[in-house]
């Protein structure tokens, strides 16, 4: 916690300064509220609209977590099968990269046509946005296992599964966590996009309603909440990383 305060005060100070500047400019130039609301107005909206906004926030957080879990599982399964079965790697990896070039926005309507408006297309959207960083990071981690370590394990008679569980998986874990950090933040974005496909609740729905009724202050509340959620997810992954990977604390390759 001390560490956080020591490291965190600078960006917080900059942010505060920015808000003050923003407030002053809005007050002086008298920009209309629907164009750019002042920070105080946004804060007011957060406080007064909290009870009606809260269910949206929870709904998005929930679906983001679900999507993230599915996406992580898919990402890891893909990475491990690509790593363990060379012919799958050669034939599927290029396709995976290609799949990342299809914009989710374009894919979303298709998913609705195929799977309706339920939970499934939403989970698919989030999975598509978050599995790839995990797959790439894990594959990278597997590849970085030093030859000397593998050589020792082979000479000592390690089988394929021992090689994986005792060497490759633990060695790749820090990389996997780098991927998880990226995916965790992506999952919130993915959740919001998935809600645009049609949902009853969620930040995505709230945002659409707000912008179509020119409630710009509410749009900012939505943006802010997305940022806070992403940060929260990120923090959870960092905490998990600290718990699971204590051995690299001195290595300096992590932050």
């Amino acid at each position: 916690m001390n560490y956080l305060i020591r490291k965190g005060w600078r960006p917080i100070a900059v942010l505060l300064l920015l808000f003050i500047l923003w407030e002053i400019i809005v007050k002086i130039t008298k920009v209309p509220d629907w164009l750019l609301p002042a920070p105080t107005m946004i804060i007011n909206e957060i406080i007064s609209g909290w009870t009606s906004f809260y269910p949206d926030l929870v709904s998005t957080a929930k679906i983001a977590v679900e999507g993230f879990l599915v996406g992580t599982t898919v990402g890891l399964v893909v990475a491990v099968s690509l790593h363990l079965v060379p012919w799958i790697r050669d034939s599927v990896y290029p396709l995976l990269i290609l799949s990342q070039n299809v914009p989710i926005i374009v894919l979303a309507p298709l998913l609705v046509i195929w799977f309706g408006f339920g939970l499934l297309p939403k989970i698919i959207v989030i999975t598509l946005t978050c599995f790839f960083p995990i797959t790439v990071a894990a594959l990278d981690g597997f590849k970085q296992v030093p030859y000397a370590h593998k050589h020792y394990m082979l000479m000592a008679g390690a089988g394929k599964s021992q090689m994986f569980w005792k060497l490759e998986w633990p060695y790749a874990l820090p990389s996997v966590f780098s991927g998880l950090k990226i995916s965790a933040t992506y999952s919130v974005m993915g959740a919001v996009i998935s809600e645009w496909l049609g949902a009853e609740k969620g930040i995505g729905v709230y945002m659409t309603l707000a912008s179509s009724s020119f409630r710009t202050d509410k749009v900012f509340v939505a943006i802010l909440s997305i940022m806070v959620l992403s940060l929260l997810f990120f923090a959870v992954i960092v905490a998990a990383e600290k718990y699971f990977i204590r051995w690299q604390s001195k290595g300096g390759t992590m932050e």
Binding site: Y152, M153, M155, W247, G251
Partner: protein, 262 residues
Amino acid sequence: MSHLLVDHIVKNFGPNEVLSDLSFSIEKEEFVTIIGPSGSGKSTIFNLIGGIMTPEKGVIQLEGNNIIGKRGSISFMPQTPSLLPWRTVLQNVLLGAELQGKKDRDKAIEMLHKAGLTDYVHARPEELSGGMKQRVAFIRALLSPQSLICLDEPFSALDELTRLEMQKWLLSIWEDYRRTVLFVTHSIEEALFLSDRIIVISAKPTRVAAEFKVPFKRPRDESLFLDDKFLKWKRTVTYSLKNVGSEKDGDANRRTYPFRSI
């Protein structure tokens, strides 16, 4: 029956002829050192015995059983310690045994005590010095259940002083826990100080160029390095190693010098 028998081994990497008709054997609880020019195929010999490569021709037997292509029949200590950074020292020394499914935690702790690593049993490898890491790697090899230990230039990355310490340490541990050892080194002094027998191999294509039985009594200590007899032996081995680079015809050069210094 020899503990390890390597008979008429041929190994090529494509057009690169590395081992040509290599033969030697090791007796039970013998400490044998292979010494030869860099690139002559010393590590390749280990890879063949360890079963991660297969020879074009020849026989490799451990206690009479064919071990060509069979991994896990020997215990190994590499040049770099290759300790797993997420494991503690204790978990690391147990790795070799764990891969074979037979861990003995109490024995591991006892050996770490004997090795002077009492304070580091639960430390991670990053906290150890180079010499300590190699001790851990050697204990890992000793705790592995296989009967033959192969060491591939284990001390060559250490500085001179640490290396001498490690050689003395290795001898004392080995005298307590006698095992059959096949050791590879660049250093003639190291070979003479440690081994019962030295096998000199030629440059590529590699075969055995000379064999020496080392006559010094055990237990040995570092005063041996200054012994006249030791220096004479050093000259002899140096001379035989100098010759191997150029000569091509095999058996004519293969000489054995049993219990005789020149």
